[in-house]
Symmetry: C2
Subunit: 351 residues, 2 copies
Amino acid sequence: METDRLDSRKMAILNAIIRNYLETGEPVGSRTISKFTDLSLSSATIRNEMADLEELGYLVQPHTSAGRIPSDKGYRLYVDKMMEDKVEEVNNMKEVLDQKADRIENLLKKVAKLLAVNTNYASMITTPKYRSRKLKFIQLTNVDDEHLLAIIFLEGNIPKNKVIDTDHRYEEEVLLKLNIVLNSLLQDLDLEEINMSIIQKIKDQAGDESTLVGKVLDAIGEAIREEDNIEVYTSGATNILNYPELSSDDSAKKLLYTLEDKQELAELVDNKLSNTGEEHGTGKGDIQVYIGNETPIDSMKNCSVVTATYEIEEGVYGKVGIIGPKRMDYDKVVGTLKTLMTQLDEIFKKK
Amino acid sequence: METDRLDSRKMAILNAIIRNYLETGEPVGSRTISKFTDLSLSSATIRNEMADLEELGYLVQPHTSAGRIPSDKGYRLYVDKMMEDKVEEVNNMKEVLDQKADRIENLLKKVAKLLAVNTNYASMITTPKYRSRKLKFIQLTNVDDEHLLAIIFLEGNIPKNKVIDTDHRYEEEVLLKLNIVLNSLLQDLDLEEINMSIIQKIKDQAGDESTLVGKVLDAIGEAIREEDNIEVYTSGATNILNYPELSSDDSAKKLLYTLEDKQELAELVDNKLSNTGEEHGTGKGDIQVYIGNETPIDSMKNCSVVTATYEIEEGVYGKVGIIGPKRMDYDKVVGTLKTLMTQLDEIFKKK
DNA sequence: TGTTAGCACTCAAGCAAATAGAGTGCTAAC
DNA sequence: GTTAGCACTCTATTTGCTTGAGTGCTAACA
């Protein structure tokens, strides 16, 4: 790799090539650059420089007599450079988001849609990941002769309902007593802390109603696990069909499939991005850019993925991401994500 | 339209043509049919018959020297005929569905996926439509110093939670009293029945707490409206890219967009399909088939849509649908939907 | 030594003509 | 009523040719 430092002229040329390619999506030739920039260099000189840049791995030639296009490495350099002097800009996303989206689920869907519409790429967003939920309180209520309702209130003000089948109606007093037992023994525990000894203690105190206790504990477990599940919402998947380099072949099919089958995305966002991200992420504002092969999903090897992390409260965070062609408008995307982050921040802090 | 009755030979030929076309997706010629069927007729004879069938509007010739493909009218005849002597077949869908899918939302998503995987077409399913929900009971509970939890139990065993912001903690007694007042006055009412006079009555009885009552009523309204919202889940959208006649042009793009932007689907399923459906629906088992132009959505004019209505309980129903190319395997699709219906039935009845 | 002009060369894309093949309609014979 | 045969039509594929963009290299220039 010899001297990987590029002199300023090479830098300028590379920059010009990338910018041009971002616009047109076509390989760009020496003559174009010779005119396009104000370097006042002839096409021949540019050609020499381009040959150098190719040798250094920043450019690629699709075939002998075509212009050059940026390699992943080229994009990488461009993006890193760009992020350094990115100015914060704020637009009016907030208005849209501020209209009360009571359930977080709806808010996230809205965000995804907003991003997709604004950028014209595909977007995804995950539900926030809690380390592990603790039980805040539980309450059993009669519904009718065959059903009890268990209201399970989890840390983070999350209420969950579970309907429990029963074979008879319970006396109010019994429920009241049970509620007290359950709450006094289970409060502020998470799944791991509810062990056999505690369970036994509850059953002892519950006396005749130990079957019911079993069902209730199952319900609690379910509720916590449910809330632990990360869900992914996507939007604008069809946008990628607007980019010829992605919509050809069946690569588009695979990509669309990945976006539809959130399963794959969920695993990914959770595990991989957070690890490999360190490497290339620029740190600033917690935005990460994955170019081409840097993304861990096969079907996205021809794409770039830009992700950001949002935080709902201390330690509770989720991921937002934009998926587009490698020649995506990084500038705009990063900008959009940054303003989104600040605005989400305000919304959450206020709540 | 003269004598629209086809003799049995024409019928057999039309049938053979359609079957063949369903398989290959290519225009089918006279020679193919001459061999393919056991009518032992020469290609010339078939040609004559085909010319007749074209004149009658059951077949279409893409261009002079190509074979014939079925017209919408041709498909229509085929489907109607097929539905008459369709045998009920039951397969093992049930196993998949039976694993407790506690929340109906998850069940529906599962169903959509199941259909898409089984048929290789796109599928959609709506949440069930209730006429209007009545309030079964409501219960207020303290969460902490700034929040109350309202558990709103709706007709149909649907629990909803609403967190209400407050400026202080309420005494347990106050809440208890309020619970009683609310329940005694609101039980079994739907949104329309909760009028100003009732609201006033509650506020009178609540005394000092009338601000809280206002918030609670808002929460109830929200809960009921939320549950009234029809949502649509789709699956297998990318399957349609497997059918060349749909994936070409940007017709695929539009179709995919329609499937992604559920909004459009929701309106449609709700309004249009249920009306125009009568016309062509074959009644039996409540399955309706819309071929090509019969569908009310523009982006689906090149597709066929098969829908079925499922019933959760008396008067509470939703729609399931399959979207595929006109040459879809109607036989299989209708069969699959029928078994799905019976199995959903069993699941719901058991609950 | 860096820059530039010029030229030969390469390759993809577009175009037109040629070809092959599938399928038809019609006529005449069975 | 059925069939064989034939001329005809039209699409899809192949082929060769041309065009133009772009390159690399060399030689001349400042």
